[in-house]
């Protein structure tokens, strides 16, 4: 087989050769009115976004902000779902609402296919990945995930108080996705830095942000070279060898997809596990019931996903239009809040309550339409396994100090410090 020359030094230059995107002014500080000046990066939103969303749904269901160069926030289920389905008017070319818009020429592929891809390319890029993420395929990881969860709990030793976010939840998806990509598990701490750089460093100065994102791509390129030298049965080797339309993938596609799998798999699931444990620590009745009725756990996990949906996506408006009364301009952002949709009383009975035996739960935590979370089966397996192991080993636990709980900033929401008393 001929040497693979796709990932040589010139690869990075080619990445930077093309058309440049546009930057908008960085605006931070307290929000004056959530209907006209919203920001998902302010502390009030991070601490508790649900009252803000509930208020907006009542008085201004498609809110606006001039921050980030302009954007919209729909809070009704029907508007969120309509936008998720409407790939004609809304592009996925960027899915993190920030002060940078990638050039339009980047569509329909985008920087991290398939999450940043639009039809028709999206379908083909997604098809390459689907078989590795079916429920049956990810079930193979369950025994190792369960053993890993137990080893983390073993590691608590005789401590009375542990941090369920940093000592437990965050390690589980890191280990699972490192295994799938074929990255050394001891690089886990680095992955968490990459996640913070990409998803939380939104309002940093542009040069700083570029430098941070480069660290991730340097790492991924090094992993590609490792795998070129020593191919193995993992997703990295699979992507290096994969073909689309009779050709191997563009190097940008390979590395962009690796970035997606690494980043999207980590803090989303970490957040879901952490938010579920936070709820159970706070509501003893729900905790006791799940300990007594472990068979209810899959149903309860769906309710945690609905009520504490970790993931908000973004879209870019393709062309000027009036949409459901909102005067949208081309390249305006849409902050596509699945968490807000999941708490719409028009869609759910007792929308604001956590009902752990909710039987009918048509929630949108994993998105709707063609971009349904590729890793949803993996996430569900990790969430259920992590909660089962925890409840089996630690049936009694409570919040050590509610004021010490902190939440992530940005589009992925979950606890980042969660001290729990476990004995």
């Amino acid at each position: 087989m001929a040497a693979d020359d796709r990932f040589t030094e010139g690869y990075r230059d080619r990445r930077e050769d093309g058309p440049v995107g546009t930057r908008s002014e960085i605006i931070t500080g307290p929000v004056s009115d959530w209907a006209t000046d919203f920001s998902h990066l302010e502390p009030e939103w991070s601490a508790d976004p649900y009252p803000i969303q509930d208020d907006l749904r009542q008085r201004c269901p498609i809110a606006y902000t001039g921050r980030f160069g302009g954007g919209w926030l729909p809070t009704r289920y029907e508007d969120v779902s309509a936008i998720a389905y409407d790939t004609e008017r809304f592009s996925s070319r960027a899915i993190i609402m920030s002060n940078f818009r990638p050039p339009r020429e980047l569509a329909p592929v985008g920087g991290s296919p398939p999450i940043t891809s639009d039809p028709p390319f999206h379908h083909d890029a997604r098809k390459l990945l689907l078989p590795a993420f079916t429920k049956r395929a990810v079930a193979k990881q369950e025994p190792a995930t369960r053993a890993f969860c137990h080893s983390l709990i073993d590691g608590f030793g005789g401590q009375d108080v542990v941090d369920a976010a940093t000592d437990y939840a965050q390690h589980i998806p890191v280990r699972v996705i490192a295994d799938m990509l074929g990255f050394p598990p001891e690089h886990g701490p680095q992955f968490r830095e990459f996640v913070e750089d990409l998803l939380e460093g939104i309002n940093l100065p542009p040069d700083d942000r570029v430098a941070r994102v480069s660290r991730l791509f340097d790492y991924l390129l090094a992993q590609v070279h490792e795998h070129l030298g020593q191919p193995r049965a993992d997703l990295t080797t699979y992507l290096i060898n994969a073909e689309l339309y009779g050709h191997r993938l563009d190097p940008q596609h390979v590395v962009g997809t690796m970035a997606l799998l690494l980043i999207a798999g980590i803090d989303t699931t970490w957040s879901a596990i952490g938010a579920s444990l936070w709820h159970l620590a706070k509501i003893p009745g729900d905790r006791q019931r799940l300990v007594a009725e472990p068979g209810l756990l899959p149903t309860a996990a769906e309710e945690f996903l609905r009520a504490y949906a970790p993931v908000t996506m973004a879209r870019l408006v393709k062309a000027d239009m009036n949409w459901h009364g909102a005067d949208m301009k081309a390249d305006d952002w849409i902050l596509l809040s699945f968490p807000a949709a999941n708490r719409d009383p028009a869609q759910f009975d007792r929308a604001g309550e956590v009902v752990i035996d909710r039987e009918v739960n048509r929630h949108a935590a994993f998105g709707l339409g063609i971009h349904r979370c590729l890793g949803s089966h993996l996430a569900r397996m990790e969430l259920r396994t992590a909660l089962e192991a925890w409840l089996e080993r630690i049936p009694e636990f409570s919040l050590e100090d509610p004021s010490a709980v902190t939440w992530s900033v940005g589009q992925i929401r979950g606890p980042r410090a969660l001290p729990l008393r476990i004995r």
């Binding site: 009542q58 269901p61 009704r76 029907e78 779902s81 389905y85 079916t134 429920k135 869609q347 339409g369």
Partner: protein
């Protein structure tokens, strides 16, 4: 305050819950492959009736006939599908 106008693009939205099964009629279930996005709620909840294909999309395990006594399960799958891809039909 009413905040739930009809969503024409994707019928079937709004509140819904499993309807009681009608024991007299044969019940069939069908999947819209146009709508199914592979969430897998149906084969998670009702693995006797639904399975996944090699890409995670849902498929019927039989010809779609719901065995007597399993009507409620079929309704459960229908009412939990985020894409409204499952329909339970009653044939008289």
């Amino acid at each position: 305050m009413a905040t739930g106008p009809v969503r024409p693009a994707h019928p079937g939205g709004g509140r819904d819950r499993p309807r009681p099964a009608d024991r007299k009629n044969a019940v069939k279930v069908q999947i819209s492959s146009e709508r199914c996005q592979g969430h897998g709620r149906c084969y998670d909840l009702v693995p006797d009736l639904f399975g996944e294909d090699d890409e995670g999309y849902s498929r019927l395990l039989g010809d779609g006939t719901v065995p007597p006594g399993h009507e409620r399960e079929a309704r459960l799958a229908e009412s939990n599908c985020p894409e409204h891809a499952i329909e339970v039909l009653e044939e008289s």
